[in-house]
């Protein structure tokens, strides 16, 4: 299953990549492949912008505009003027619907 094409904001700086393979290890959608000992983004449309790769890249070679892919959270963010948030339980932030 793939979502909208060419919308994911994941980017790689190949010159910074040290080829450790952590991005491929943590990616839940097998977005990365390895060419010549360096990571490459081979499945951009499968990226859900979770940020796991960015967080676990020791070389700082990756970037993404991470966030929740949830319409309710984004609409909430638009209405309150804040960041998209999945705190949609009535108990004021204690729960989460996602």
């Amino acid at each position: 299953m793939k979502y909208l094409a060419n919308t994911a904001t994941l980017r790689i700086s190949p010159e910074k990549c040290v080829g450790c393979g952590m991005c491929a290890e943590v990616c839940p959608h097998a977005v990365f492949s390895f060419e010549g000992g360096k990571a490459a983004i081979s499945g951009l449309d499968a990226c859900m912008e979770c940020g796991a790769c960015v967080n676990n890249c020791p070389a700082g070679a990756l970037s993404v505009n991470r966030g929740v892919g949830c319409a309710a959270a984004i609409i909430n963010g638009m209405l309150t003027g804040g960041e998209p948030s999945c705190d949609c339980s009535p108990k004021g932030g204690k729960g989460s619907c996602c």
């Binding site: 290890e25 859900m48 966030g67 998209p84 108990k91």
Partner: protein, 379 residues
């Protein structure tokens, strides 16, 4: 006797200003099985069997807000009789997550380190950062994990990775983070393979079954949040006559709308999610619209109750405009439950969809007003 010891331990800790590792009191529940001594006090033992009560509670999480207050105390737990060489598995303190992990640890001697994720599951908590680098570092130090497990490794669920920076944890604590498989059920295989996950174990899926168990939490909120207001509005509009509010015309007039409203909830909150990969187009708004249109046409053909809405021009136009659109909006909410939609994509959909929804709502109201004016013979 163990309880008294625990109280003493707590007081010692309070006096020395040290936070204790184990939960403040041994938690009660059928999943607690004794306790194990650690260099930092007693760790509750946990059973690897789920009782009928555990299963029932987990079921309630699938269908109600029971999930919002379903947590275990964070801290260190023991499976079997672990020692310094035993593996450490890290989990969230949402009881459903904790249960999913512990039932896969049958026959092992292991430690389970539960982070305080405010009762939220691993993946969502990682997204928010509560299953995160800082909490993990704090928890490793508060349970004195270096003294508990001498091997310097911790196993994290892979879906914790959006919140955790493995190299930072390692720098701060000396513990090496090993990411386990996505699904807890692969843990036995993962251990057998020497703590190596296959590509298959590393990939998130979204099966028919996954989508089916998620659908109640789409249907129930839609029925609670939107449907009563919608029904009340429909009854009021159709009941309103020049001579006052008539219950008879409220009911007979509103009935087709109440039923078509149900069909929209069904198509947006159940059919679209469950049949997701088979509905054409990638946009959830479009998928929901298609299923909503199909459900509308099927319903209208199915009974003579819909004769009026089929023959009256304003009502027919209203139905064709409004119900597929309502289904589309409801289907869009499912993006929050999927395993593959990203924020940029959802924002892009909303940018187009919201103005269309608003325009449709306004035109629907105008059509309804035109119908009422004709009915009252005012135009």
């Amino acid at each position: 006797m163990p309880e008294i010891k625990l109280v003493l331990k707590k007081d010692e800790n309070a006096a020395s200003g040290r936070t204790c590792c184990a939960p403040a009191a041994l938690p009660a529940g059928p999943w607690v099985a004794g306790s194990v001594n650690t260099p930092c006090g007693q760790a509750p033992g946990i059973s690897t069997e789920l009782t009928r009560r555990d299963r029932w509670d987990n079921f309630k999480c699938r269908v109600s807000s029971f999930r919002n207050d379903y947590a275990v105390p964070p801290g260190l737990y023991a499976v079997g009789a672990p020692d310094r060489e035993s593996e450490v598995f890290v989990s969230a303190n949402y009881k459903f997550s904790f249960d999913t992990l512990r039932r896969q640890l049958k026959g092992l001697n292991a430690w389970v380190l539960v982070l305080d994720t405010k009762g939220i599951n691993v993946w969502c908590a990682a997204g928010k950062g509560t299953f995160g680098t800082n909490e993990l570092i704090r928890r490793i130090s508060s349970v004195n994990l270096a003294a508990v497990a001498g091997h310097g490794k911790i196993v994290l669920p892979q879906l914790g990775a959006p919140g955790v920076s493995a190299h930072e944890v390692s720098k701060a604590t000396g513990f090496r983070v090993i990411y386990g498989p996505v699904r807890a059920k692969d843990i036995p295989e993962f251990i057998k393979a020497g703590y190596k996950a296959t590509r298959e174990m590393r990939t998130v899926k979204f099966t028919f079954w996954d989508r089916l168990v998620l659908s109640p939490m789409e249907i129930i909120p839609a029925m609670k949040k939107y449907y009563p207001l919608y029904a009340l509005f429909a009854l009021a509009v159709f009941g309103l006559q020049p001579s006052g509010i008539l219950f008879r015309s409220a009911f007979t007039g509103a009935l087709p709308f109440l039923l078509l409203g149900l069909a929209s909830v069904f198509s947006g909150a159940f059919l679209t999610p469950v049949l997701l990969p088979y509905v054409p187009f990638r946009s959830f708004a479009v998928k929901g619209w298609i299923m909503g249109a199909a459900a509308l046409l099927f319903s209208m053909e199915s009974s003579t109750w819909f004769k009026l809405v089929r023959t009256n021009v304003e009502l027919l136009a209203l139905c064709l405009l409004f119900f597929p659109m309502a289904s589309s909006y409801i289907a869009l909410q499912f993006t929050g439950s999927t395993t593959f939609t990203g924020m940029s994509g959802v924002k892009k959909e909303l940018k187009t969809a919201i103005p269309i929804y608003m325009a449709s709502a306004v035109i629907s109201l105008l059509l309804l007003a035109a119908y009422k004016l004709t009915e009252w013979r005012l135009i």
